[in-house]
Symmetry: C3
Subunit: 348 residues, 3 copies
């Protein structure tokens, strides 16, 4: 909504590095795709498949890798990682909306809550007893912060987020609408045909620079805390059960579920709708394909997959029925092998 | 909650067409299933399996297809599509609650917002700067409308919906509680072991007559808009990632996930919990079975499936282990074929 | 947040039964895991794999089964079900926060609503016309209760829950943040290429002692009610479609989807991310493994599974391709069997 500032290409290169080729005075006001860019836009090439679009782009300037140094006559910045460079330029051109410091008159702040002067508390937000809202933090309209919960400096919670009591969120985090942090884990004891609830007395501890997607849920721990380390990025509609631990800089795509007490390593990448069993350990640097159900530990880095390939219904139905007789089929093949073997013996 | 009006069968047939057989003065106040209907109810038969219930129903009247013209002696309407006819009658008998025009005294309306006189803004709702709420639109209690967002005429947002800034929702849409529209897409650039956020500067554009289920999330675009065309119907807990495009009149069942930049055709039907990879194209008139993971483009209309069939755990565990040796099994069969072939050669 | 009371071991054993061995005056203030417990904590052993931790624990007392009567010298309670006993002790030591009776000054209560004197209505909550809030019930901040909805005694709804009109929730239930109860079921009739909405005129009826997890959605019925019986426990992000019926004391893990009109038995256990087709019947005492898609009825108790096992991507891709030729493979094996059979015939 704010008016965007203009930068020239020279300023950008000075700020973020890279080799500048062409007119340093080229003025840039926004990022855009190669296809839709116009004269004041800067675009980027992160993959050879975009070179044909590069030839046609109307962008004012582009960001390219060393291989594409001479792939265009446009003013350009040459750098090692064009997509990361583009991310930095876009963040410069699209700064987050300024936080309006202060507590909205319709917000409710309970006794003992500490709110930094530079923090913003939105309309109808609720800040529980002894909660602590750090400098520059922004609490969206209708967002609920439970008793004793701490929100770190410059952390942004959008509207209608719910953070239960006794949780901690670090600095520079982003939490999207509808996310629920600190609800009870699913702890039940079976007793004579009914379920007894196990009080969930742990909390949730989230590090710095974490992003939590819309409608994602992160449960509080049963006895100890659920822990999300620094730099973890989570998309929408993810479910993190009680006592899960997620290592630093792991990225998790939408609709993933991680069951209780699973420990996920650092720098992992978990594809959308993957599901991880409880109490398993996943090593660092593991990549899990979308839709995969992980039923046991993964101790070696690498890419792991387990999905049923789709096809036409007609073909699927013909093939899938045999899955229930695979064991029998393997035995039949073994019998055939023995039969052929004995015949060989018989004819030798 | 409102008192229901009585209609007689003749009025209904005049309004919606079809052949009326029996007493046109039959009075109808509500729709019901064949099983539970009583004298003032109208019911319907959409499939031959309901004919035995038709024989026993206590309904005052029924809606049937041409085949079932003489399947009952009850007052009846004969039409081409009894289920659609029933939908229209039910809509007549169960009109939406009247919108109470006006802004609730606990709602917050920021400067520059335009709210039609006939619109309703519920308790504790928040309307951002320069937002635009159309005639007859209804914004539920606690619902958040971001800066510059437009809500079309007669669109109904239930309680606790969140629509971020710069989005557009068309006319006569319905958005259920907990839905989040316009949160950031999951755009990240990897750079030296950490993730840089890509600002998501596109919006979400939703057409007319779209329904969005409870806790469904539709992310804003990275550089361009995420687009939902007219007449798309979405159930609960669906995740639509950034820059997805969904063609007109496509219906999507609950728990579906559609990854970034996928383009879905018109008139598709996507079964519950199906997951679609990013950057793929799905043609018009494609039907995807529940639970299917779609890993690549679908260019021909038809029904597509890919799910592992369930069975007892005992049987599953015996068969599923062989999936990891299928390639070996195929080779063994090939060896057997060659062996038998050579024996044939040997004995000929 | 409340100050915890101290109990001694003798009081606990008198209250909940079991054999007490050791000092009855041992003072207990909290439950803890064997690993982290200190002198005023009580811990438990529910499985032989914890015996090595038992040997090292610094707990003040432990709860053990008969088999482990002599496995420690610590003050201990011997009982039949240590985990259930532990649940009861934890509930004693961690009582729910006391409900502050009364209606918060920022809450909105519509005309005709009945609110028990001992109920608590949180900040910014909304109570619709003729709604009924029972004694000791607690409605969280920002929570929406629709017209005519009933909330039973001592039921706790956390912040930002949405319950639509005309629903009933029983006594002693817990509903977590972001849950949506009573949104429209996904009822559509196809008519000349567009979808007509079927008004959803049923409600949702939830029994006593039910727990509903964060961001779980339970749709209202089309013509009849959606029904959740007593003692059902639901984790987060579960989708219950219209007209589903769930039998008493069934437990459902996170991310499960149950499609319309499915009937689930009593005492079932449904693993995380399992998906159940609509209109099917599941017997009592059925256990469904995580990630399983249930496409048809289950009439016998037992454990049911259907998931594709994961492995390295490299191995998966080699094997999975053959799934589309399984039918052909089975035919090839049959041909081999016939070939070998005929040869046998030929050489006999």
């Amino acid at each position: 909504m704010a008016k965007r500032q203009l930068y020239n290409l020279g300023e950008i290169a000075r700020r973020f590095g890279g080799d500048l080729i062409g007119d340093a005075a080229t003025r840039i006001s926004q990022v855009a795709s190669l296809e839709s860019a116009t004269a004041f836009d800067i675009s980027f090439v992160s993959h050879p498949r975009f070179l044909s679009e590069l030839a046609k782009t109307k962008a004012g300037a582009v960001i390219v890798g060393a291989h594409d140094r001479d792939a265009t006559a446009l003013p350009r910045i040459i750098c090692a990682n064009p997509y990361a460079y583009f991310a930095r330029v876009s963040a410069l051109l699209n700064p987050p909306a300024a936080v309006e410091a202060g507590v909205h008159k319709t917000a409710v702040v309970e006794r003992g809550a500490k709110i930094a002067d530079s923090a913003s508390i939105g309309a109808g937000a609720y800040i529980g007893k002894k909660a602590n809202i750090g400098p520059g933090a922004s609490i969206g309209a209708g967002t609920f912060i439970g008793d004793g919960t701490t929100i770190g400096a410059e952390t942004l919670l959008y509207a209608n987020v719910s953070v239960y009591h006794g949780c901690t969120i670090g600095k520079r985090c982003i939490v999207h609408s509808g996310a629920v942090i600190g609800a009870d884990g699913f702890g039940l004891a079976h007793d004579n045909g009914v379920w007894l609830k196990i009080p969930q007395i742990g909390g949730v501890v989230i590090g710095n620079d974490v992003e939590v997607g819309a409608n994602t849920t992160i449960d509080r721990g049963a006895l100890h805390d659920t822990v999300i380390e620094d730099g973890v990025k989570m998309d929408n509609q993810i479910q993190i059960a009680h006592n899960v631990k997620i290592g630093a800089n792991t990225a998790i795509a939408a609709c993933v579920g991680i069951a209780g007490s699973a420990t996920i390593g650092r720098n992992c990448a978990i594809g959308g709708a993957a599901m991880l069993r409880g109490h398993i350990v996943i090593a660092d640097n593991v990549s899990i394909s979308a839709g995969t159900l992980v039923q046991k530990e993964i101790l070696e880095p690498g890419e792991y997959t387990g999905v049923y390939p789709f096809t036409t219904f007609r073909r699927w139905v013909r093939n899938a029925a045999h899955l229930q007789e695979l064991d029998e089929l393997v035995k039949r093949v073994r019998r055939l092998e023995r039969g052929l073997e004995s015949k060989k013996g018989g004819t030798s």
